[in-house]
């Protein structure tokens, strides 16, 4: 804290408009496994000070990852010495020198000045994770998959212990402690017969590696002897893993930054019907047990639950204080000082269980996971993604076989319009292509376009 205060004092001497300093320490461990065996274990200790400065509406970001010689960040909390001071002075000098060449951003309107009574994120940190038996957890997850009759499992277990402190030039300061426990397991029977599931939690008690292992094993076991799928229009059920990259893009597209950059299919859609009445999606920075849940965003605005899509109507963009003032609205607590960003994307649960959803389908496909989601046009929402792992053909209310070599070639808005049913339970996860965690149920989409290779 002494380092941050010293740095802030020096910056304020330079007559800045605003500054936000964020100090974080991440202690992590990692177990990577392939073919049921550990192929790497990892230990990490990373420290960083993120620096955001505005002077005469000129914006600069920099960071300070390390300071030499047993001083600097290593001593934060344990004292502050002359070497720190010299390094900080050098950095501040460079910041003001650099700012001389920067042009003002005329539509910048400042950072938060209001002091909030923060609600502590009680479920966000589990000290037990520091000494958990990582190998035992990984082994339990692997064994749960093997019990389902699969031959190979691959994946990773990650444990993060993150501490951060924010200090702003408006004298707002707060600290957070967060745990993140992540387990990802992909099971194989044969090369084209696989299943994948992740577990994500802030607490050891709720970190269910066995459920992830079992589910991934079940999907792999059921995906035996896949055949090439046919192109056409299908009713498609997207499982939580499969919907997660799509929800991730929905979250990013809700950011006003994406809208301004021409990278959002929600441009000009506020308060307009963009989807089926059956779909409601939130961004929730307060989600109990959410690995991205925090009491405040990085300028000190208390986080909250923001509705993005309510019964098919797009309701609001994600803002920080500056962008909110520009558009004469309130911050949604999503700073990102340059680009507002989502915390946890949550789909409101529906009325059906998975079995009921399958039962009501005449000709459809159940997709448990997708891979390589890419957009031709973020503004229009045109994209394609490749189903992988268990992909099941549904005929007359029953799963009748397993598929491979198909692609979903669609448009996000068209898919949202096609939502026909939402499951009554949801799974919390993040995935390789969805860095924003999601709380996602199975979702049934009508008239989904499936394509296949022509050569």
């Amino acid at each position: 804290m002494e380092t941050l205060e010293y740095l802030m004092k020096k910056l304020k001497h330079g007559k800045i408009d605003d500054a936000v300093l964020t100090f974080s320490v991440n202690h992590s461990r990692q177990i990577k496994f392939a073919d049921n065996k550990i192929v790497k274990t990892g230990v990490e200790e990373l420290r960083n000070i993120g620096i955001f400065i505005v002077k005469d509406k000129k914006i600069l970001t920099t960071s300070c990852h390390n300071l030499i010689g047993g001083a600097g960040l290593s001593n934060i909390g344990d004292g502050f010495n002359e070497l720190n001071r010299k390094n900080m002075d050098r950095l501040v000098k460079r910041i003001f020198e650099f700012l001389k060449s920067v042009q003002p951003k005329k539509d910048y309107y400042g950072i938060n000045e209001k002091k909030f009574n923060y609600k502590e994120n009680k479920d966000g940190y589990d000290p037990k994770s520091i000494n958990m038996d990582d190998v035992d957890y990984a082994e339990k997850g692997i064994n749960a998959a093997l019990k389902e009759g699969v031959k190979r499992t691959n994946g990773i277990l990650e444990v993060h212990d993150i501490k951060s402190t924010v200090l702003t030039s408006k004298d707002i300061t707060f600290s957070e402690k967060r745990s993140e426990l992540y387990f990802s397991i992909r099971s194989f029977v044969e090369k084209d017969e696989s299943g994948h599931m992740n577990a994500l939690s802030t607490s050891l008690r709720k970190f269910d590696v066995e459920d992830a292992g079992k589910t991934s094993g079940e999907i792999a076991r059921d995906s035996r002897n896949p055949v090439k799928g046919n192109k056409g229009s299908y009713e498609v059920i997207l499982g939580p893993m499969a919907i997660s990259p799509i929800l991730d893009v929905i979250g990013e597209s809700s950011s006003i930054f994406s809208v301004e950059a021409g990278l959002s299919f929600f441009a000009n859609k506020k308060n307009k019907s963009i989807g089926s009445k059956k779909i409601t999606i939130f961004d929730d920075g307060t989600l109990p047990g959410g690995v991205n849940s925090v009491k405040a965003d990085c300028e000190g605005v208390a986080t909250k639950k923001n509705v993005l899509i309510e019964k098919g109507v797009f309701k609001q963009y994600l803002h920080n204080t500056s962008t909110a003032r520009k558009y004469k609205t309130e911050s949604t607590g999503n700073a990102g000082l340059i680009s507002p960003s989502p915390w946890n994307i949550v789909v409101e649960k529906g009325d059906f269980n998975l079995a009921e959803m399958i039962k009501n389908i005449r000709s459809g496909i159940y997709v448990t996971n997708v891979w390589y989601t890419r957009f031709a046009n973020y503004r229009a929402g045109d994209f394609s993604t490749i189903p992988r792992d268990g992909t099941f053909l549904i005929k007359n209310g029953k799963i009748v076989g397993s598929l491979k070599n198909i692609r979903i070639s669609e448009n996000i808005l068209r898919m949202l319009q096609g939502v026909d049913a939402v499951e009554n339970k949801a799974r919390y996860l993040r995935s390789w292509e969805a860095r924003t965690p999601v709380l996602a149920p199975h979702i049934l989409v009508k008239n989904c376009r499936i394509t296949t290779p022509t050569l």
């Binding site: 891979w371 503004r379 992988r388 050569l455």
Partner: protein, 466 residues
């Protein structure tokens, strides 16, 4: 500046009697700016450094990353990692590393015009000039940055590689909207070297050209023919095809399943060396030693000397991309393909600069005998399955070809193909070799590394567009 901490880490590894140890100190000096719709959104600089430490103990692999430069912290983290490796040993894969020559070398890619000698104001002016040419685009996002990466690499075997590789980067997104229809183009540029490359890119002209191509397509494009036709794709499309459907499936760690959880596996098996994958005019290489390239290096992140890898030779599978672990698995030498994104990631098997070797045809000659076809200069959306077998490329700037002549623009021609059929359907290779840039993503945790994706124009016979 931090070398003494790397030296200390190596000494401590030796003291702990590891079978093998390596220490990779990385420093990055970066500067960048983002211009969005003509307004300077943000600019900044960054100086980061940290140490990645890898070791083998009882044939189990451990990795540490740390950016806290004090000796006690380094000691504590190594001790913690050794404890974790010992704990996991009962479940561990017995890792072996191939025997390699030990190198002690220093190398550097030169900046003819040093980034630090170019004033930020000039860079802002350049992006604003670029922007002013395309004001009618509703979304204009330009990012220009530089990164000088210094590495200090040591091994317990006596290896010592010191390097400095600067890179210039430019990324853009252009979004046009005409008569209710929108189109978008994203692309990036990267060269190792200095600011001279930014000058060579001639950004105002380049972006204006892209704008005009998108505008023309939005105004005049019609649907492509539905029947089987011949298709000529330009170097940008060839580059992505080579990267996705040759480079990736030739990564030996995929072939052995180490990255199966996320990045996926490969449709290729280790026994397939010598098998035919394409026509005999298909020759694909991956070459980290290419000067000024995005993926440039002379020694990889395991200290192995880099060389050109001949992946496909005359249509046949010739060699895979290896690090020391996969090379040991096949009882061969590594061909120097180990790369890490930064100090905090382990080095895994990666491409550097992958490209199709040029043939004899001019682009005109590739097109002149086509009665009905499509020419696809560049692309927008693309993807490929995680075994690298089934892929899709959506054309952006594309034209109908009739009786050997390029005619009117066509709308989003879609190539959806399997890898063997693609490379077997190529009957002519152009001589117009170009290198494009991509950030190649792989691994869990995800690592993005700069790479060239290249090749000349190629002709694909008798294909149905989606």
């Amino acid at each position: 500046m931090y070398e003494e901490y790397a030296d200390f880490a190596l000494k401590f590894l030796k003291k702990k009697n590891v079978q093998y140890g390596e220490v990779r100190l990385e420093e990055h000096e970066e500067e960048g700016l983002i211009l969005k719709n003509g307004v300077l959104e943000v600019s900044g600089f960054d100086h980061s450094a940290g140490i990645g430490i890898r070791f083998l103990l009882n044939n189990s692999l451990g990795f540490i990353s740390i950016n806290r430069f004090d000796k006690d912290s380094i000691k504590n983290n190594i001790t913690k990692a050794i404890k974790l490796v010992r704990k996991g040993n009962k479940l561990s894969e017995r890792v072996r590393l191939s025997e390699e020559l030990i190198h002690k070398k220093k190398y550097k890619a030169h900046q003819k015009i040093k980034f630090k000698n170019v004033n930020l104001k000039d860079k802002i002016r350049l992006l604003q000039e670029t922007d002013s040419n395309v004001k009618k685009a509703i979304g204009r996002y330009f990012s220009l940055s530089s990164d000088v990466a210094r590495k200090y690499f040591l091994t317990t075997e006596g290896g010592r590689i010191v390097s400095e590789v600067p890179r210039a980067n430019f990324t853009y997104f252009l979004t046009l909207n005409l008569n209710g229809k929108s189109a978008q183009k994203y692309w990036q540029f990267c060269n190792s070297g200095g600011y001279e490359h930014v000058k060579k890119w001639n950004l105002p002209k380049l972006i204006l050209g892209e704008y005009k191509a998108i505008e023309k397509n939005l105004k005049y494009a019609k649907k492509p023919p539905k029947d089987n036709i011949d298709v000529v794709v330009g170097p940008e499309v060839t580059g992505i095809m080579v990267h996705e459907s040759v480079g990736h499936p030739f990564e030996a760690d995929r072939i052995f399943g180490r990255e199966a959880a996320q990045a996926g596996e490969s449709f290729i098996h280790k026994e397939m060396i010598g098998n035919v994958l394409g026509n005999e005019i298909v020759n694909v290489v991956d070459d980290p030693t290419l000067e000024n390239s995005a993926g440039y290096y002379l020694y990889d992140d395991e200290g192995v000397k880099a060389r050109r890898r001949f992946l496909i030779k005359n249509g046949k599978i010739n060699e895979f991309l290896h690090n020391r672990e996969t090379a040991a698995e096949m009882n061969i030498k590594s061909n120097g393909a180990a790369r890490a994104e930064d100090f905090d990631k382990e080095a895994i098997v990666r491409m550097a600069n992958t490209f199709l070797l040029p043939g004899d045809y001019s682009e005109e000659e590739l097109i002149e005998d086509i009665k009905l076809g499509v020419y696809i200069r560049d692309f927008t959306e693309w993807n490929i399955d995680d075994k690298r077998f089934q892929q899709k490329y959506v054309g952006s700037d594309a034209y109908l070809v009739k009786n050997g002549e390029i005619k009117s623009p066509v709308l989003k021609p879609v190539l959806e193909l399997t890898t063997p059929k693609l490379w077997k359907s190529i009957d002519a290779v152009g001589k117009n070799l170009e290198y494009h840039t991509g950030t190649c993503g792989k691994g869990e945790p995800m690592q993005g590394v700069p790479a060239f994706l290249g090749g000349p124009s190629i002709r694909i016979r008798n294909v149905k567009l989606g």
